[in-house]
C-alpha cells in the first residue's frame, strides 16, 4: 500500500499529465484541450505557491543562522528586513501599486540590480587581460574565434578591417548556429527520452524516489 501511494500514484499522475498536455499540443481533441487548460491553471497556481514556500524556507534558514550567530548573519538579517519591508508595502492599498512600494523598488531595487550587472563588466575586462591566453590549442581556437567576433561586433573595427570582419559574421552564421542547433536537438531528444521514461514509469527520480533503494 505504502509503495502504491509513494511510488505508483505520483508516477501515474505525472504520466497522465504529460500525456494530456503533450497530445493536446498536436491533436485537436476538445476534451484533452479542456483538461490541459485546467492543468495549466494548476501549474500557474502551484508556481505562485512555490514562490511563497521558497520565502518561508529562506526565512527559516536565515532565522536559524541569526539565532546561532553564524558567519555573515548580519546579511541574513538585512535580507529578512528587506523581505518584510517590500512585502508589507506591497500589501498596502492600492495592492501592488502603492507609492511607497513603487518608491522602494524604483529607487533601491532597480538601481542596485543595474549596478551589480554593470560591475560584472569590469571583472570580465580584467579576465580578458589575465585569463584569455593561448595556453593550448583549444584556448587558441577560442581566442581566434573571439577575436573575429569582436572585430565584427564593433562598427569601428568593421570599417577598419572590412576584409577580416566578415569572418566574424561567418562564424556566427555557420559554426555557431550549427553547434547551437546541435545542442538544441540533443536537449530536445534528451527531454523526449526523459519524458518517455516517466511515461513508462521508469524514471522514479521525477517523484523524488531513488531507483536503487526505493528510498525518498
Amino acid at each position: 500500500m505504502s509503495q502504491m501511494i509513494r511510488k505508483y500514484l505520483p508516477l501515474g499522475l505525472l504520466t497522465t499529465i504529460i500525456a494530456i498536455v503533450t497530445i493536446q499540443y498536436y491533436l485537436s481533441i476538445q476534451v484533452l484541450k479542456d483538461l490541459s487548460s485546467t492543468i495549466l491553471n494548476w501549474a500557474v497556481i502551484m508556481a505562485t505557491i512555490a514562490v511563497g514556500l521558497g520565502i518561508i524556507n529562506l526565512l527559516t534558514r536565515y532565522m536559524r543562522n541569526i539565532s546561532r550567530r553564524r558567519e555573515n548573519w548580519i546579511f541574513n538579517l538585512w535580507t529578512i528586513i528587506v523581505i518584510i519591508m517590500i512585502t508589507a508595502t506591497g500589501l498596502l492599498y492600492p495592492f501592488g501599486t502603492n507609492s511607497t512600494f513603487n518608491w522602494l523598488l524604483t529607487n533601491l531595487y532597480l538601481p542596485g540590480d543595474s549596478s551589480i550587472y554593470a560591475m560584472v563588466f569590469f571583472d570580465i575586462c580584467f579576465a580578458f587581460w589575465r585569463a584569455f591566453k593561448v595556453r593550448n590549442t583549444d584556448a587558441a581556437l577560442l581566442l581566434i574565434a573571439a577575436f573575429f567576433v569582436m572585430l565584427y561586433n564593433a562598427p569601428l573595427t568593421q570599417n577598419l578591417f572590412p576584409q577580416i570582419a566578415p569572418l566574424g559574421k561567418w562564424l556566427f552564421d555557420n559554426p555557431a548556429t550549427a553547434a547551437n542547433r546541435g545542442i538544441g536537438l540533443v536537449i530536445a531528444i534528451g527531454t523526449l527520452a526523459y519524458s518517455f521514461r516517466i511515461l513508462m514509469q521508469r524514471e522514479t527520480g521525477a517523484v523524488g524516489i531513488r531507483e536503487s533503494t526505493g528510498e525518498e
Partner: protein
C-alpha cells in the same frame, strides 16, 4: 643567502593591478559618450527585416509585446524597447504588453522604458494612445512557460492588469480572446526564446520578431535562419542600426561609439597579454633547452 630576484618589466605589466585595467576600460566607455565619434554603421539584413515586420502590420491590428527585461539588462536592451515602441506609436495598432521573465520586469518597463518613449506623458497616455483603449499592460504573470501557454489560449486568464484595473473595464481586451487575435509578437528580452516560440508563435502561427542580448544572439540567430523569427536585433549594435533605419537616433546610436572603443581596448589588452605570455614562454623554453640569451 640568495638575493630575491626583482620582477622584470614584463612581469610587472602582466601582474598589473586590476584597478589600472578598471580605469582604462572606464575611460574607454566614458570618453566616447562625452565626445561621440559618429562612426558609420553597417546595416545588417536582420535589422532591416525587424523594422519591416512592424511596418507591414495591417492597420487596426493587435500587437503582443513582450518587452521583458530585468533592470540589469535595460542598459543593453532598453533602447531596443524604446525604439520599438516609438515605431509602433506611429502606426494605428493596439498594443498589449506581457511579462513572464521576472517580477521586476513590469517595473523596468514603467520606469526605464516608457519615460524614454516619444510623447510619453504618463502611464495613461503613451503618445496618442490611450490606456485601456489603445494599449494595455497585463503585468507580470508567475508560472513561466505554463503561464505563457495558459495566457495564449485565454487572454482573460488574468483578472487585473499591471495597474490593478479589472480586465472587464478595459475596452481593448473585450476584442482580444486568444493569441490568434494578434498580428505580430514582439519579444524584447534576454532569454525565453524557446518558450515564446513553443507557446505563442508555433501553435498560433504568430509572426514573431525579437531583440536579444548579445549573449543570446546565436540562440536567436538559429531561429531567424530557419525562418521562425521574421527579424532580429543583435543587442545594442542591432538597435543602433534599427534607430538609424527609423531616422530616430537614440540611446543605442550614442552607445555605439563606446561599444567600438571598448571592443578595440579589449582587443589591444588581449594582444598585449598574449604577446607577453608567448614571449615569456619562449624565453623559458630557451633557458630549459640550455640556450642562454
Amino acid at each position: 643567502m640568495t638575493e630575491k630576484k626583482q620582477p622584470g618589466i614584463l612581469d610587472r605589466i602582466e601582474n598589473i593591478d586590476r584597478k589600472v585595467i578598471y580605469f582604462i576600460v572606464t575611460l574607454a566607455v566614458i570618453l566616447p559618450l562625452i565626445n561621440p565619434i559618429g562612426l558609420p554603421l553597417n546595416i545588417a539584413e536582420e535589422s532591416v527585416n525587424y523594422k519591416n515586420a512592424i511596418d507591414d502590420i495591417p492597420d487596426g491590428s493587435n500587437v503582443l509585446c513582450k518587452i521583458d527585461m530585468e533592470a540589469g539588462l535595460s542598459g543593453e536592451l532598453g533602447p531596443a524597447g524604446v525604439a520599438t515602441i516609438n515605431q509602433l506609436l506611429e502606426k494605428p495598432v493596439k498594443l498589449v504588453f506581457i511579462f513572464f521573465y521576472r517580477g521586476d520586469c513590469p517595473l523596468v518597463f514603467v520606469n526605464n522604458i516608457l519615460p524614454n518613449v516619444n510623447g510619453y506623458i504618463d502611464t495613461t497616455h503613451l503618445g496618442n494612445k490611450v490606456y485601456g483603449v489603445d494599449w494595455v499592460s497585463l503585468g507580470y504573470i508567475e508560472g513561466h512557460e505554463s503561464a505563457m501557454a495558459k495566457l495564449a489560449e485565454d487572454m482573460h486568464f488574468v483578472t487585473v492588469d499591471q495597474f490593478g484595473n479589472k480586465m472587464s473595464d478595459l475596452p481593448l481586451m473585450q476584442d482580444i480572446k486568444t493569441a490568434s487575435d494578434f498580428s505580430l509578437l514582439i519579444h524584447v528580452g534576454g532569454g525565453d526564446n524557446a518558450p515564446v516560440l513553443n507557446q505563442f508563435s508555433t501553435p498560433y502561427k504568430l509572426k514573431t520578431i525579437c531583440a536579444t542580448a548579445g549573449v543570446d544572439y546565436v540562440g536567436v540567430l538559429q531561429y531567424y535562419k530557419a525562418g521562425v523569427y521574421s527579424g532580429i536585433l543583435n543587442s545594442l549594435k542591432g538597435t543602433a542600426e534599427y534607430e538609424f533605419l527609423l531616422g530616430q537616433p537614440g540611446l543605442a546610436i550614442v552607445a555605439t561609439d563606446a561599444i567600438s572603443v571598448i571592443h578595440v581596448t579589449l582587443l589591444v589588452l588581449i594582444i598585449i597579454g598574449n604577446a607577453i605570455y608567448i614571449y615569456k614562454r619562449m624565453v623559458k623554453k630557451d633557458v630549459k633547452g640550455g640556450v642562454t640569451e
